[in-house]
């Protein structure tokens, strides 16, 4: 069995978000980490590997620096790593990204593809399902539990108020939630292997299969970001203690005052 795990290196938003003057993320000023949902997806793949002896390949599209996230994945126990990096791929939105990653995966053998639900920098949750669409395979999103049974996967899929248990024949794509598991730590020996024994294979535009140049990079991205900003901290607000009918009057007055109604 062969599993491909799609990961993304993202800025760690724990310490707050920093922006460049033009509104884009100042990635250099923030610590780079493996996206948490992707890490859970990798952990799920590694657990399947332990049970079935599957081969796990991680793939990412990004700057050359994204190699660090791939090395981390190798140090956790992934077998192979592919970095898709090329100037012409820069500025990609989710559409161009999913076309690029799908173009890379077409050159790999796979039974199962696992991606994180969404990345903490963009929070779109679009890339995983789009990759499945481009490859023409089924997708099961929001996985909280994954079991492999013969040539199928059984996935517990999270909804706001319920779960669905979905069975799909492989090949298919699953998007993972960080709630899926607690990812293992790298091991010291795994880190040494990741640098000394294993390699990160670097692919460029020419290594992508069945993609049009017009669908790549900034030029191939239909999304235009007007403005990006960090969450603006709200003021302390105003606290009042009133009974029910007084509250209604108070709120109505406030809404009128602000021209909301």
């Amino acid at each position: 069995m062969k599993i491909v795990v799609c990961i993304k290196q993202v800025p760690d938003t724990k310490g707050g978000v920093k922006f460049n003057p033009d509104g884009t993320l100042d990635r250099a000023a923030m610590l780079a980490i493996m996206n948490p949902d992707d890490k859970a997806g990798l952990e799920a793949a590694l657990r399947i590997k332990e049970q079935t002896g599957a081969e796990v390949t991680v793939v990412t599209m990004g700057l050359p620096k994204a190699e660090e996230a791939l090395r981390e994945a190798l140090a956790m126990g992934a077998d192979k790593a592919v970095l898709v990096t090329d100037r012409v791929l820069g500025g990609a939105d989710t559409w161009a990204t999913s076309i690029t990653v799908a173009g890379a995966i077409r050159n790999m053998e796979y039974d199962l593809i696992i991606s994180g639900r969404q990345a903490i920098d963009g929070d779109t949750a679009q890339v995983g399902p789009q990759i499945a669409e481009h490859l023409g395979i089924p997708v099961i999103s929001y996985a909280e539990d994954i079991k492999v049974e013969g040539d199928s996967v059984i996935v517990k899929r999270q909804y706001e108020d319920r779960y669905h248990e979905v069975k799909a024949k492989m090949p298919c794509l699953i998007t993972a939630l960080s709630e899926l598991n607690v990812p293992r730590y790298m091991t010291p020996g795994g880190i040494f292997d990741a640098y000394d024994e294993k390699e990160v294979i670097v692919w460029g535009r020419k290594d992508l299969k069945d993609v049009d140049d017009s669908d790549l990079g900034l030029a191939g991205s239909p999304t235009k970001i007007a403005k990006a900003s960090d969450k603006v901290r709200k003021g302390a607000g105003e606290k009042v203690t009133l009974d029910a009918s007084e509250s209604v009057t108070y709120i109505m007055d406030k809404l009128k005052e602000k021209h909301v109604i």
């Binding site: 140090a75 730590y185 010291p188 040494f192 990741a194 640098y195």
Partner: protein
């Protein structure tokens, strides 16, 4: 000459730091307060591969170098001195001598489970009447048929009682030199917990590293198989001394970590603490103290890493290890004392980590060779 760490060492540090912050730091106060051995943490460290970092993979280890192991002890000790010494004593004092002097059978039987963290190791040299003067030890081993019979006691043994495998140094013969002076000949043995005649005395109540289990070991006609002799008969003393050279690098790393942890706390606290209308970090007295501490800590780190590199490449590294331990231990004591002073009254309260760090620091100037012993080793080499 390049002082930059390689990418793999940087990544290893990231791992140790993340583990220490997530798994060790939240328990550090409790471990100190209750004096309970953090068995759960040791289990997690075993799973993460921290119990056999410098051991080759064929013996169950991680196949990394002494520098990586040193960085592990350093990062653990930044948040908990107890956890640092558990790894150090296990790796440097128990696994290392078996790897260095053990037979293939001994390595397979003992190192593999130790390096995987399935078993915990300890080392026993010190006796009530033999500390710095290790030659004063009294514990004896006599060969009786296919067994060595051990009698005597050892004290202040780190990982005592919780440990499964013990390296024990005992007298195996007394010979006379040409002038008729008696000379004790020591040998090293591997002793397993549970061997009849091997028991534990009282648990020591300590000033610091209170979660580390420190016990007296008692041997009463304790019979161990002949093949558990470690290294050649009569070479126990040099084996012990060489083992301690390695151990000192681990303790130096522990001391370094404690100092770094205290400085981290001081930086956070002095920025927050306000007196006379501004943070105490804005006072020049604080700034100069922080600067002095940072400079000392970096000097200690360079000595510790240099000693770790020497262990990887040289057969003898006694002087490098002694310098690293001497300077790192004294830095840990000086820095933690200064940090408690910067914290003022709060520094004296047990709720704050720095009080524990100051207590933990003191032992690094004492065990695995006091600072005075390190000075003897260094000056001995200078005046040779």
């Amino acid at each position: 000459m390049d002082f930059a760490l390689s990418k793999k060492h940087e990544m290893a540090r990231t791992l140790f730091k993340e583990f220490a912050e997530t798994e060790v730091k939240p328990l550090a106060q409790e471990v100190d307060e209750t004096e309970e051995f953090p068995a759960g943490t040791v289990e997690k460290m075993a799973k993460a591969g921290f119990m056999g970092i410098p051991v080759p993979k064929e013996y169950g280890g991680q196949g990394c170098d002494p520098l990586t192991y040193t960085m592990c002890v350093e990062e653990l000790s930044k948040v908990c001195g107890t956890t640092g010494v558990i790894v150090s004593a296990h790796t440097s004092l128990c696994i290392d001598p078996i790897m260095t002097y053990g037979t293939e059978e001994q390595k397979k039987k003992y190192v593999v489970p130790l390096a995987k963290g399935e078993k915990l190791g300890a080392f026993a040299l010190t006796e009530p009447g033999a500390g710095t003067d290790a030659q004063g030890a009294q514990t004896k081993a006599v060969l009786d048929g296919d067994e060595w019979v051990l009698n005597g006691s050892k004290c202040f043994i780190t990982n005592g009682k919780v440990g499964d495998v013990y390296i024990v140094i005992a007298i195996t013969s007394v010979t006379e030199d040409k002038r008729g002076r008696k000379k004790k000949n020591f040998s090293a043995f591997i002793v397993e917990k549970g061997t009849p005649g091997f028991s534990f005395g009282t648990k020591e109540k300590k000033m610091g590293i209170r979660g580390s289990a420190t016990y007296e070991l008692i041997f009463e006609d304790c019979r161990i198989p002949k093949e558990n002799l470690l290294g050649p008969e009569g070479k126990g003393f040099p084996i012990a001394m060489h083992t301690l050279d390695g151990g000192r690098i681990g303790i130096a790393a522990q001391a370094l970590g404690i100092a770094e942890g205290a400085l981290d706390r001081a930086i956070e606290y002095t920025k927050e603490r306000k007196q006379f209308g501004r943070s105490i970090a804005q006072q020049q007295n604080t700034q100069f103290k922080l600067a002095d501490m940072a400079a000392k800590i970096e000097a200690a780190q360079l000595l510790v890493y240099k000693a770790a590199m020497a262990k990887a490449t040289k057969k003898v590294y006694s002087v490098e290890a002694a310098k690293a331990k001497l300077f790192a231990a004294e830095t840990a004591m000086a820095v933690t004392t200064e940090v408690v002073q910067l914290f003022g009254g709060y520094g004296y309260i047990r709720e704050y980590d720095v009080e524990r760090m100051m207590r933990d620091a003191k032992i690094t100037e004492i065990y695995e060779g006091t600072s005075e012993v390190q000075r003897m080793v260094i000056s001995g080499a200078l005046l040779k």
